[in-house]
Symmetry: C2
């Protein structure tokens, strides 16, 4: 085990109980102290945001191979472009600086005040510039449920589904950070009992519970990345809510796939949790039957045991958890996804985002969308305030949370929280 | 008529007969004089490339509102971000400098040699940084042909097709400039008579004859662009070859659309021809029946009478024209496409690329893909060297050309030329 992941490791910083950010996490993000200071690369332990740029200028990073310029950026791309070894080195160095037995920064109050800030005193910003965004469709339970509802219940899973990780391209311009409100989209829909379509605010607004990985290495156009090379290309994960307008989707998506039903917004969490931090939570993928083609075969355990929750918070009143799923349910893993994506020579770039697709578990307590949880509205969920939901209503805030837990260590993602405002 | 479009206008530069670039064109692109000089914004008249950055530094642009910095870039984005009025102003100013009755630059040899270079002595570069790329599917003839071959001949056009401009997101990382070779993609396919898929080089490699527009204005996420506002958002057009692997496409595309069958490469031409230059060639769109929803209604003529050709050049021997189509065949026009794309609040950014979809005319002399021209390989085309093609072979070069012609003025796009190398 990488010593930075040891459950025995403690820090001289305060870490609240049940925090997503113990010293074993050390995620990366972009923050701004206040309106007049420039954005910086940061990390987080407990409720403390660490200014990594300040760590560098004050000489704490030693021979860590990440130059100060890469930390004085408004996106993580320049840092991530240095690749997995640099990401690992920086995470290791931060772990060393903040561990309980290292008094150097702890006892240098002036420096400590420059480097350590409270999370509620800073503003988090979009962590990466995303040029290309791909969404996969890799949960068998979700693909089966969607197939039953959108297509043929008797043949819900299409013939190609178990042979390749189905994916499609999404829109990167409308990917937004947790905390950014969205408006209910308008669009064209057609009711089953009508001959003609009509136009108006979406009636079936839905979340999609997803994880997404972000790349830190590029391949040349025309070359491919094998399943064994794939981990070198992946910096880490964020939580991802791929907002969906089910009524718009139903009318538009044949034959070229979802378009306006998806591209009005997708929300991501602020902290990129590294592959290194998630290493202890790797688990075997479900057995694939029929066997996959050689280019999709892989070695090792590349699923992740990460609990995933979705909460709905009405305008007034408590929030209610509407699902508890897990990233481990994925049929296709990240190595297979990246190998498939590049097998035709498609080029990956640094900062690309790759969504898992909706992550659904085996039953309606673990489904990853309202479409599935309420079975297209036929079984509404009851919220704590007594109201019911078939889909998402105006003024609802949808909150995704995710964390892995083992041997008393909890590595979490924080949350991605998005409030829905009425259509304009 | 904008005086810069007058057929009477002549230039003191030499313009070869049948050139795509008379003084009425004045497109924009990015070029480099040689390996040691930086990329610059340029234009072209005849076979002369005009260094617009040099025009600016030498004081020829007068009160034109485009700052010198925007012209010292390796992409057109900073210039285009100034919007349609600035693009129009710069084009008008260049027209003025080079017209026959303006002797100022013509008679200043030192400046002329700094500003004017021969096209075969410079290197053209990617004109824009493209973050998001959308491909529409707006030719009724193409959609009908594809529907007949991929789906149900009796119901080739799907129910939504005449109600909205169907579109989907593409991959921007693999958009390449004319002159860049590609490798035949590999991928997963399944033969109709086989139970299991297999892996190998694509057997049915195809071009798609398209035009694409590039945006020069952004809207805020959550807001929409109406059909009447759309032209303010569009800088101009390029030729676009949306390479397609038909056998990979057939197996992968249900239910979420084309993915690896498209994202290995898409090729664009080097010069962005402005909406201003194409104004004289605007023509009425085909009548839309049934009538479209109010947000898709528009005023004016927004199709373009642009002849489009595809040529195949084998490794040895002459090239053969395999189709003659026209951009005027589009059922959905660019104003409708942009209004639809943003009606849900999706945000447009400067430098986005929007493909038309394959442009097919009414019969097999005007189809925009080999799939249609050879009707899935059942009617091979004969090339001048005596060989036949069902689809594109290794070592073939595919060349798209496009030009509008009226009153003796020919406004062209040059070409987009791509050679296919064997699979790696």
């Amino acid at each position: 085990m990488n010593p930075t992941n040891s459950p025995k490791l403690t820090t001289w910083l305060t870490v609240p109980e049940q925090s997503d950010f113990p010293i074993q996490n050390i995620p990366f993000g972009i923050f701004r102290s206040n309106a007049s200071t420039p954005p910086r690369v940061g990390s987080r332990i407990g409720d403390t945001v660490i200014d990594i740029h300040a760590l560098s200028t004050l000489g704490y990073l030693g021979n860590c191979p990440v130059p100060t310029e890469a930390l004085a950026q408004d996106k993580l791309n320049a840092f991530f472009a240095m690749g997995r070894p640099a990401i690992t080195a920086l995470r290791n160095k931060i772990s060393e600086i903040f561990r309980s037995d290292n008094a150097v920064l702890r006892d240098h109050e002036d420096h400590r005040l420059l480097i350590c800030q409270q999370v509620n005193e800073v503003t988090m910003l979009m962590p990466v510039f995303i040029q290309d965004y791909t969404d996969f469709y890799s949960s068998m339970e979700h693909a089966t449920n969607a197939g039953k509802m959108f297509r043929d219940p008797a043949n819900a899973l299409l013939p190609n589904w178990k042979h390749l990780p189905v994916g499609y391209h999404g829109r990167s311009s409308s990917i937004i950070l947790s905390g950014t409100d969205i408006h209910r989209p308008k669009g064209q829909t057609k009711a089953d009992d009508q001959d003609m379509p009509s136009f108006g605010p979406c009636k079936l607004l839905d979340f999609e519970l997803e994880m997404a990985f972000i790349t830190c290495k590029e391949n040349k156009l025309g070359s491919s990345v094998s399943t064994s090379e794939a981990p070198d290309y992946i910096a880490g994960f964020v939580l991802f809510n791929d907002w969906s307008a089910r009524d718009i989707q139903k009318w538009e998506y044949v034959p070229l796939g979802p378009f306006l039903s998806k591209n009005f917004a997708s929300s991501i969490s602020a902290w990129v949790v590294t592959l290194d931090a998630l290493e202890p939570f790797q688990v075997a993928s479900p057995k694939q039957d029929p066997p996959v083609l050689p280019y999709l075969q892989y070695k090792g355990d590349w699923n992740y045991n990460i609990n995933l929750e979705v909460w709905i918070q009405p305008e007034k009143g408590e929030s209610t958890r509407v699902t508890l799923s897990n990233f481990k349910y994925m049929y296709w893993n990240i190595c297979q996804q990246l190998a498939h994506h590049t097998v035709n020579g498609c080029n990956i770039q640094v900062g690309d985002l790759y969504g898992s697709g909706t992550i659904s578990g085996p039953d309606d307590t673990s489904y990853g969308s309202m479409l599935e949880i309420t079975w297209r509205g036929s079984k509404p969920v009851k919220l704590k305030d007594g109201s019911e939901r078939k889909f998402i209503q105006d003024s609802d805030t949808v909150i995704l949370k995710g964390y892995a837990e083992k041997d008393g260590v909890r590595i979490g993602f924080g949350e991605v929280s998005t409030k829905v405002l009425p259509a304009i």
